[in-house]
Amino acid sequence: MNDQTMTPEERAANLKGMGSSRKRVEDVRFTQGKGNYVDDIKLDGMLFGDFVRSPYAHARVVSVNKEAALALPGVIAVLTAEDLSPLGLHWMPTLAGDKQMVLADGKVLFQGQEVAYVVAEDRYIAADAVELVEVEYEELPVLTDPFEALKSDVVLREDLEGQTEGAHGPRKHHNHIFTWEQGDKDATEAVLAEADVVAEEMVYYHRTHPCPLETCGCVASMDKVTGKLTLYGTFQAPHAIRTVVSLISGVAEHNIRVISPDIGGGFGNKVGAYAGYVCSVVASIVTGKPVKWVEDRMENLMSTAFARDYWMQGKIAATKDGKITGLWCHTTADHGGFDACADPTKFPAGFMNICTGSYDIPTAYLAVDGVYTNKAPGGVAYRCSFRVTEAAYFIERMIEVLAIKLNMDAAELRRINFIKADQFPYQSALGWEYDSGDYHTAWDKALKAVDYDGLRAEQAQRIEEFKAGKTRKLLGIGLTHFTEIVGAGPVKNCDILGLGMFDSCEIRIHPTGSAIARLGTISQGQGHATTFAQIIASEIGLPADDITLEEGDTDTAPYGLGTYGSRSTPVAGAATAMAARKIRAKAQMIAAYLLEVHDDDVEWDVDRFAVKGAPERFKTMKEIAFAAYNQAIPGLEPGLEAVSYYDPPNMTYPFGAYICVMEIDVDTGEWEVRQFYALDDCGTRINPMIIEGQVHGGVTEALAIAMGQEIAYDEMGNVKTGTLMDFFLPTAWETPNYTTDHTVTPSPHHPIGAKGVGESPNVGGVPAFSNAVHDAFRPFGLVQSHMPHDHWRIWKIANGLGLHG
């Protein structure tokens, strides 16, 4: 077969473009242990940094004595806030408009806070020296409860004393950070006052941590001869890091090269800037030698960005037949010692105002109060778009609570309140314009797939058996219909540190018809090198296998805001398609020239331009590529390259229907997921296999979060879950089987209709698991119980309901 005899379908299949379950090109190196991570980087004369961290959650730092540490052979320096302050680097700005200590400046605000940075010739010497630094602390009263913090006389942030105005408006108390309000308060209160039914509940989404397998780290390398600083690191946003480093260090931006090599998972943990980066850069500038810093697992869990910790007080109003009329939510957000949330500037509570979910709720009000406590800073989007998981969990719990109040089936309650397909684009009461959706179709498909009625019948029978003493296991059916908001975002309302959240792609076609593309994003396991090549393959008709994808080097890649919040496909994926279309437009002119016809007389056909009405007269993309380099074409520049910076007109709104069937042992609190069905609608599907992989991974993280994973503190502010013995990270053993399914409702404003999928499973999975636990106990009177649902907390539910006899 050749170009002449293959059908268009065969030619399209050969490209392995969009829709192909092309194998991940990254896996060749990853499965052979040939990845290149930050800790694999070894430079000549490299030094090692390590931190002295505070054992206390709140204390004054009375003194730091470095003498014994400096006396240890091989120790180069011990940095404290005093050393950094002449450079103005003892504090750094956070992404949330606050500032954060790089090294303890007189006091510490959370356990594990960085107090001193030791630089040594050897990693082991650095660790030994950390032990030798003597720090004298004077303990202060500890606040771990945000509600207490708002009442307490104890001032956590003395540096802000007297400041009644914060980055996001007035501060009501010395431990208060901001109030963020959306929607119509008066109208919502009026609806609540008049409603047939109001269900009210406190929904807590506990503090957890993204816990990527690879922890955070960097290698800073200052070349004193060229004046160039190269910074390798686990950065989810390498360009933004370059700009931030330039702004805070004073090194000109063109003299900084940031490289994100292979990254072993990020999940939001690697978006922010950490003390380790600043100290390593300073140490490298001072010593003129490369300095490596890589945190260990315990440091990662206790000091780098946590996620969630939202106390969401909700009220939901409905008519007596179940039509929702209003939603009210007040959230108390525990941000820890510094406000270092990674959200777009104008959204101090992220996109929490997506909390009306998949439902047509005419009136709603949301207020979020951010609070300082003696916990680690962070509040990142752990495999979700900014605070969307919290929002989805809140509304999906409130729906269940309302169903209980109405004595109604929760699936039916959802169905009668979904936004209808013909209501899109839909304007939500809290300010978003949902781009597209068809929730009823997805919901019906999901319920049918799991035989919902059959499951309810089985559950009813199980309850009878339980009451008759024939079994000690209950059956829970966890329902979720989630709507996400991803792809931040339109520059008019989304920026980080003033940088608009567009993204970019540059494509260069080589003379022989292969290509390289570079993006402003960075894969941390998502498979960009595989999927973005597929977009290009479909758009310009070159095989995906002939397209190299490169990300993460700021010297070569176009500027972009990085990968988090499911923004890569919605934003950089769109830029990729747009850049490819620019190339195709030029290719059309080249083809017309070669075919000696007018530009308008050729048409695109999979991998070629053919003369309209004469398909046997064509030029393939490969031929066109060569011509671009070897022909002098009148009116056209040589070469075949394009770059696109894409500012999305709107967010995208992926959605899905998840159903979890869980067996629960009331005597031990043990649980087993018998079935998990995940239907995702992420618009156009680029690589179904990668989508499935993303769903498996995301649901597994959701399982962890819902069923045990937490960052817990005792009343002294000690982290109780600082190792993987206590912090639940599921292995293959705990991971259930998943059934994946889909519907396809393309995004109308995205060039290829894709919406993003990587985070949906975490967003939808958490309420599905949690609702299953709640549902199992619903017949015995349970309304609300907080996650994580580990054995003893499930046991406590059963015990509280009198099920232990």
């Binding site: 390590d50 030994d128 292995t731 054995h791």
Partner: protein, 277 residues
């Protein structure tokens, strides 16, 4: 997670190992599989100048299955306990319990001697050995002696073993085919220590019951064993609940642990009874 510096020794026989322990006193510690000791060193909760690796000592290896007694070398790995067919037919309880320890990677290197010598209340083998009424052989500067598993544990990380003694072999009486055996363990996830675990033998008018991670030592209860031997299951459970003394931790509060302890024990008894001949 970087340990402090240490000297590494790799003696070829028990006598030289004891010699090194004598020379360095409490500066030295023996190293078996390292899967309890090395994490402690990385956390700098254990710091020692000298590690005496037992890997090269042949005398500490091997499983011998006799008609009345099974003998396990201290350096037998947990993996070997699982894969040894003769052992599985002589005392099936050992395989059943070993399969509940950690994960395969840990079991390939973690040893039975290290597990019982460690003295961590979370370890599964000490309770198991008490249930089986094993004896531990110790060699030290003053010669050899044997200590019953039921007398070995004093407090968390404190055992009857002297610092300069090495645990060499474990001897276990073969319970006989008529005795049903079962090990029940509740844990939060694979690789986790027990929330509560129960080792039970019952049959032939005898019984033995021990539990794990419910006090600062394993708990073998004479009263609980006697009650079960006489067929009084609830008496057995009551006696055991009296004997345990769990503390609250991330696995849950005391009340929960006591409840789960009773559930594990009843389940183990049920299963052991169903297997009794």
């Amino acid at each position: 997670m970087i340990p402090a510096g240490f000297e590494y020794h790799r003696p070829g026989d028990i006598a030289s190992a004891i010699g090194i322990l004598q020379e360095h006193g409490d500066e030295a510690r023996v190293l078996a599989g390292g899967h309890s000791l090395i994490p402690m060193m990385k956390l700098r909760m254990a710091e020692m100048g000298h590690l005496v690796d037992l890997q090269a000592i042949e005398e500490l290896k091997g499983i011998e299955v006799g008609a009345d007694t099974v003998s396990l070398g201290a350096m037998v790995t947990q993996h070997e306990l699982i894969t040894h067919d003769g052992l599985a037919s002589a005392i099936p309880l050992i395989r059943e319990a070993a399969l509940q320890i950690a994960d395969p990677q840990v079991r390939y290197v973690g040893t039975v001697g290290g597990n019982v010598a460690n003295g961590d209340p979370g370890n599964d083998m000490p309770g198991l050995m008490q249930c089986l009424n094993a004896t531990f052989d110790l060699s030290g500067p003053d010669g050899n002696r044997s200590v019953a598993a039921r007398d070995f544990y004093e407090a968390a990380y404190f055992t009857a073993r002297e610092d300069e003694e090495i645990l060499t072999r474990i001897h276990i009486p073969v319970p006989g085919a008529a005795v049903g055996q079962a090990y029940e363990k509740q844990k939060r996830k694979i690789g986790d220590y027990a929330t509560a675990a129960a080792a039970v033998m019952v049959g032939n008018g005898t019984a033995s019951v021990a539990m794990t991670n419910l006090a600062d030592t394993p708990v073998w209860s004479e009263g609980a064993s006697a009650a079960l031997a006489s067929g009084d299951v609830e008496g057995c459970v009551a006696a055991m609940l009296d004997a345990i003394d769990p503390v609250a931790d991330n696995r849950g509060p005391v009340e929960f642990k006591k409840h789960v302890a009773a559930v594990m024990l009843r389940r183990a008894i049920d299963r052991a009874q169903s297997r009794a001949g």
